[in-house]
């Protein structure tokens, strides 16, 4: 039986993309698998009694070394902020390519804590900063210094000791351009080095908390239990900065979604499901309920989503146990069709992620195809004709072309770059100034404009000739020819409409990162947790691939 890939007009709706969950394809999981045979080392740890100072951690294999350099600083309570407008943090980090010299560390000591206003070099790969969850960090220090392990209930509510507020890579602030390192096999999957940074930062937070506790009470202090460490991740506060990324990297977006859709298609095409595979699927599914039940948020929007997810999942598990026969042909296809009929998007996508768990053989080959050589598709094929372009638009943007942008609610917002922090923002064009400086992120509106202009042009006109008089539409002409080849390259929704929920765009990206416990703090930013439950670096060479559900 052949199953079609799901229609981009369904998959690429924001509500669907905003219902995606971590999976075997997620970058943090594929990072751990890739680096499991690398040698981990703590190379330097020079912190004072308050935990301030420098530390270096590394991964190395076959002469290749990646080193995380950590700078932990004194920060006044009043200066601690997760917002991107902050200028100081509890700790700042950079991932250095190779072994840093003393001179490198001295140079980076001056620059890394400054973050966006510092300058890095081509020898640095990623940059980040993080703030303590003060309540949790202090509680852990107090407990350990008294010889006790901390209160697990408090820890599980928060899930981390530190949260990062940005992780930068790919040439930002002087960091190495991707072209310098893109041929390294170990980083073929996207965001590998960002994942490495966050993972090593997690270890730093454990070492720091142990160190401070020990200094506080050298005789009595104990170390944080490994099992407790494992159940702590790294938090992350994420704002709108991530949203334009998925619009600005269409072929990359396609490759992520296409990998996911291809895995789903191949699983639905399996005729006979082996007993061990159905067992593993059910086991992961049941265990994962624990993650949903411990998913804390104050957001009413998310609470609703979680409760409907739980309700749907319980129905689904009930269906699996009472009405479903895994020995029937194409059982996963039957499951998928049942989900589409009986559950919401959140649950369907959750189970889709879960279906991947038994199928390493299907998932693994696709992981290396999730990067993109975007330059290859930049040139516009100007020898094509108006009629061809019109056909692409009609095929690929069908629902977009039905939107009436003369209605205020469909044209309400505009995306801009804030002058203060050079970060993307969204604002109401009828209430705020600056819409004349709108970023080219209103793709749906501009595609509609393009279509209307094409309809008044001669069909046999070449695109080169068309562009000569329609330069203002050039950016969407380029996109239309990209979507022709890459159907999942475009969000099939209006990103400037009244009803847009920007955090759906963030959730899409974060689900591919492998984040858990999305906690929206408004419709424009959210907190997440990464690597919670993941093996510690010293356990990497022998770990359970299904750690997410343990």
């Amino acid at each position: 039986m052949q199953v079609e890939l799901r229609d981009a007009n369904i998959v690429m709706k924001l509500s669907r993309l905003g219902s995606f969950h971590q999976s075997k394809l997620s970058f943090l999981r594929s990072f751990l698998k890739e680096f499991k045979n690398w040698q981990y080392k703590r190379d330097l740890f020079e912190l004072d009694e308050l935990g301030h100072g420098v530390a270096v951690y590394s991964f190395n294999k076959n002469k290749r070394v990646y080193s995380l350099i950590c700078f932990a600083n004194q920060l006044d309570e009043s200066e601690r902020s997760d917002r991107v407008i902050a200028t100081k943090w509890d700790a700042a980090f950079t991932l250095h390519d190779g072994v840093p010299t003393k001179k490198d560390i001295e140079r980076l000591k001056m620059e890394v804590p400054k973050q966006e206003v510092g300058r890095l070099s081509y020898k640095e790969l990623t940059l980040s900063r993080a703030n303590k969850s003060l309540r949790v960090f202090n509680h852990v220090v107090e407990s350990l210094s008294e010889g006790n392990q901390p209160d697990i209930n408090l820890l599980s509510k928060v899930g981390y000791l530190y949260r990062t507020t940005a992780v930068y890579g790919s040439g930002k602030f002087g960091l190495a351009d991707r072209f310098r390192i893109k041929n390294r096999k170990e980083i073929y999957g996207p965001f590998r080095l960002e994942m490495m940074l966050v993972y090593l930062v997690r270890q730093f937070t454990f070492d720091q908390v142990n160190h401070v506790a020990k200094k506080k009470n050298p005789k009595k202090a104990v170390k944080l239990n490994d099992e407790i460490c494992k159940n702590l991740g790294i938090g992350n506060s994420t704002g709108l900065g991530m949203a334009p990324f998925i619009v600005n990297h269409p072929t990359l977006l396609h490759n992520w979604i296409n990998a996911r859709e291809t895995v789903l298609k191949k699983i639905r095409e399996i005729k006979i499901i082996e007993n061990k595979d159905s067992k593993l699927f059910k086991s992961c599914l049941k265990k994962s309920i624990k993650n949903i039940k411990s998913w804390n948020t104050d957001s009413e929007y998310q609470k609703k989503k979680i409760s409907s997810l739980l309700k749907d999942l319980n129905n689904f598990i009930n269906f699996l146990e009472t009405d479903f026969n895994f020995t029937q042909d194409f059982a996963f296809n039957e499951i998928y069709l049942w989900l589409e009929q009986n559950t919401g998007e959140e649950c369907t996508e959750y189970v889709v992620s879960m279906m991947m768990e038994p199928y390493d053989n299907i998932v693994s080959p696709l992981i290396n195809k999730m990067s993109s050589e975007e330059e290859k598709y930049f040139n516009i094929p100007t020898d094509r004709t108006v009629i061809e372009l019109k056909k692409i638009l009609k095929n690929k943007y069908l629902q977009i072309l039905e939107i009436d942008f003369s209605k205020k609610e469909n044209n309400k917002n505009f995306w801009f770059i804030s002058k203060n922090k050079e970060e993307p923002r969204l604002a109401n064009r009828f209430e705020e100034n600056g819409s004349e400086l709108e970023q080219p992120l209103a793709i749906a509106r501009d595609i509609k404009k393009l279509y209307e202009r094409l309809c008044t042009s001669k069909d046999n006109l070449s695109i080169g000739q068309f562009l000569a008089n329609n330069s203002n539409l050039r950016h969407v002409v380029r996109r239309a020819f990209i979507i022709e080849k890459f159907p999942y390259s475009e969000i099939q929704d209006n990103t400037i409409g009244q009803s847009i929920v920007p955090i759906d765009m963030l959730r899409l990206k974060l689900s591919f990162f492998g984040a858990l416990k999305f906690d929206p703090r408004s419709d424009k930013w959210l907190r997440i947790c990464m690597f919670q439950g993941a093996p510690l670096p010293k356990q990497l060479n022998n770990f359970d691939d299904y750690w997410v559900y343990n």
Binding site: N469, S471, N472
Partner: protein, 203 residues
């Protein structure tokens, strides 16, 4: 040192701020990245061009002919370049294209380099005495390596170089003969057992 990613982003945004559409600004971002990667002064020339553009009129050349000239006016390197790239398949038929006066011509160069990749032919670009052989957008061979601002090229010509060998048949044969020394002479038994041996495939 600025990364190429920063160079591209800032060039793109500056081009939009200087009055170009987002689509054209994207082209400029890519182009300045290319120039800097090839070791040519992209940022320097773009910055100066935008400063000059405030007080000086540059003609937008929308349709490219074999000979392109507008009395006493300089062509805008960005719009001329965009038109050149967009119309390259038609322009190719001319065999050679000439322009009188292109302002800041180094900004025009990457469009020509990219056009070379699009049509799969080397292009020979002359900006007055400065010569550039553009090899499929993979590299540039030139007699110009100065980190200078070039404000104007009075005479610009582009020749389309037909794809042909750069060596004689004798040179090829001599080298081929040498390469044969890596081959193994087949014995009769090897011939009998080799791929396809013993079967007839003319069904």
């Amino acid at each position: 040192m600025k990364s190429l990613s920063e160079i591209e982003t800032v060039s793109k945004r500056a081009s939009k701020a200087a009055g170009f559409s987002w689509g054209v600004a994207e082209e400029v971002g890519k182009n300045v990245r290319l120039l800097e990667m090839f070791g040519l002064p992209g940022i320097k020339n773009l910055n100066n061009f935008f400063k000059s553009k405030k007080n000086f009129f540059f003609e937008n050349l929308i349709f490219i002919n074999k000979d392109n000239k507008k009395d006493n006016t300089q062509f805008c390197p960005i719009i001329t370049g965009t038109s050149f790239l967009d119309q390259i398949r038609d322009i190719e038929k001319f065999g050679e294209v000439n322009f009188k006066k292109i302002g800041y011509p180094l900004l025009f160069l990457p469009f020509v380099s990219r056009a070379s990749e699009v049509i799969g032919k080397r292009l020979f670009l002359k900006l007055d005495k400065k010569e550039f052989l553009l090899n499929f957008n993979n590299n540039i061979y030139s007699n110009f390596f100065k980190n200078d601002i070039v404000e104007l090229a009075e005479n610009v010509s582009i020749k389309f170089i037909d794809n042909s060998d750069l060596f004689s048949n004798t040179e090829w044969q001599e080298l081929y003969k040498l390469s044969e020394n890596t081959f193994v002479e087949e014995s009769d038994s090897l011939k009998r057992s080799g791929a396809g041996a013993g079967l007839t495939d003319n069904d």
